[in-house]
Structures are given as C-alpha cells and as structure tokens.
Symmetry: C2
Subunit: 162 residues, 2 copies
C-alpha cells in the first residue's frame, strides 16, 4: 500500500476532531485580534504591529536591537526595518548604533513614545478585559493551563519535524 493510500485510509477516522479544535482556536483569535486592530485604529490611529513593538521597548528601557525584537515578536528581520523606520518617522522611537557591535542598531522609546504607549496600553488592557470578561475566573485559569499544554504540543511537533 502506498503512502498516499495509507494517509487517505487513516485520516478520516481520527483527525476531524483536531481539525475542528484548530478551526475554533483560529476563529477565536481572529475575532479578538480584528476587534483590537479596529479599536487601535479608531482610538489611536495606529496598528497592532506598531503597538507590539512599542510594548517590547517599554519592557526594555535600555533598548533592544532589531534582531532581538525580531525574535521576540516572531516576525522576520526585514519586517522590522520598515516598521521601525515608520515609528522613527513618527517620533515614537529612536535608533542608535549599538555601542558594542557596529553591525547592530538599537531601538528605544523616545519620551513621547513612552507617553503615547502608556495611554494605548491602558486602553488595550481594558479592551482585553472586556472581550474576555464573559469567562469566569475558573474558566480563564483552565483555559490558560490548556493553552500551555497546546503550546508544548505544537512546539514538540515543529521541532521533531524540523
């Protein structure tokens, strides 16, 4: 029996379950994420990637290099070139050559950037509380634990495959 035949024979039985779970997970995240994007645009005329970058820098007052940001934000390197250029043009972020490595550029919040982010961050936290407010504390902690398990499962699967 060929590999393709094996796949087709085995698949219908056990895998629909996981697929439904994945689709639901994706729908949930997409719904919340779209709403957050919409509110960020409406309230602050900004975007989620901009907000995420500011959030990282806010947590690291000494600055981060583009490479460090790229890894933390799980986006490609080239992506950050444009994103940081836009934020610099808006005056929220400043770019300086790394003192220890002449290849690297460090990014940090300007004082304007810090102020702007503080407002956005407070609103964001409220929005999330609003969107997830329909869950009881017990449900939230159960979900939190199950997602930790999910993360582990996914990480193991991607690593053994690679």
């Amino acid at each position: 029996m060929s590999d393709a035949e094996t796949l087709l024979a085995d698949a219908p039985a056990g895998h629909k379950d996981e697929l439904r779970l994945w689709l639901r997970l994706l729908t949930c995240t997409t719904m919340i994420e779209s709403e957050i994007r919409r509110r960020l645009r409406a309230a602050f005329d900004t975007t989620l990637p901009r907000f995420d970058l500011l959030a990282q820098l806010d947590r690291h007052p000494d600055g981060l290099t583009l490479g460090e940001l790229s890894r933390r934000m799980m986006v490609s390197n080239g992506n950050l070139t444009g994103l940081s250029a836009r934020l610099e043009a808006e005056g929220l972020v400043e770019r300086n050559p790394s003192p220890t490595d002449r290849r690297a550029t460090t990014l940090r919040l300007t004082s304007v950037g810090r102020t702007v982010f503080a407002e956005q961050s407070a609103a964001h936290e409220g929005w999330i509380a609003d969107l997830l407010g329909g869950l009881s504390p017990g449900e939230r902690s159960a979900l939190f634990r199950l997602l930790a398990r999910t993360k582990t499962s996914a990480r193991n699967a991607t690593e053994t495959a690679a």
Copy 2:
C-alpha cells in the same frame, strides 16, 4: 471621579489576568499558524489564504459569490478581488456572473482545483493532528468547550460596544 481616573484606578488590579490569557492564546495560534504556512509553502508552494478559499469552495460545490466568501472568511471584500484573480490565473477556480444578480460574481472550483485541494486538505489535516497530538482527547474536548465560551464572550463584547 472622571472616567479616565476610574479606568486607571481599576485597571492594575484585575486585568493583568485577562491580558496574560490573551497573550498566550495569541502565541499558541501564531505558532501553529506559522507552521502551517511554512508547510503549505514547502509542500505545495501555496499560501494559507489560497487554501482557505479553496476549502470554502470545496464545501459549496454550487459556488459562492465574492460577498459570501468575504463573510465566511472574515476578510474584506476588496481582498477577495485580488485573491480570486490569482487563483483563477492558476486555473484552480472559475468565475462566472451570477445568474440571478448581475452585480455579483460566483466562484467555484475547477476540476483541477478540486483535485489539488483534495491533496492539500489531506496533508493539512495530518499536520493539524500532528501539532495538536500532544493533547489527550479529554484535554481537546475541554479546550473546545472553553473556546466556545471565549467566542461567545468576544462576540457579546464586540456587539454591545458597536
């Protein structure tokens, strides 16, 4: 007390919890989604939006209009113009004027599209089973239920706000 002051006074206490939950949800979904995108590219040289559009059409053999697709896929209308044009150029999809509404265009799979999607779909199902395979059946069904609750919570929050 002003609204802003109320927000700031209440926020630090109760909302960190929901924020951590949201970040974990987002991380999980992003990890799995990136891996699926990577595998779709490696195995079939295609993308997730293309795959999603084919999946919708596969479920509706009589075809769907761009507007229906837009709603089901939760993406903007204008987005589908380009996406469907690319899939048509690749010969996977055919566009026909709606017989009942001269404004509308219906999309359906070509026979090539149906064959291509069947392969991709089988592989996709296996990948998801792989990525979520670390969860027990009990964990999966508990997660499934909690995500339903999450979806309801988010939907209520977006509707009452709008």
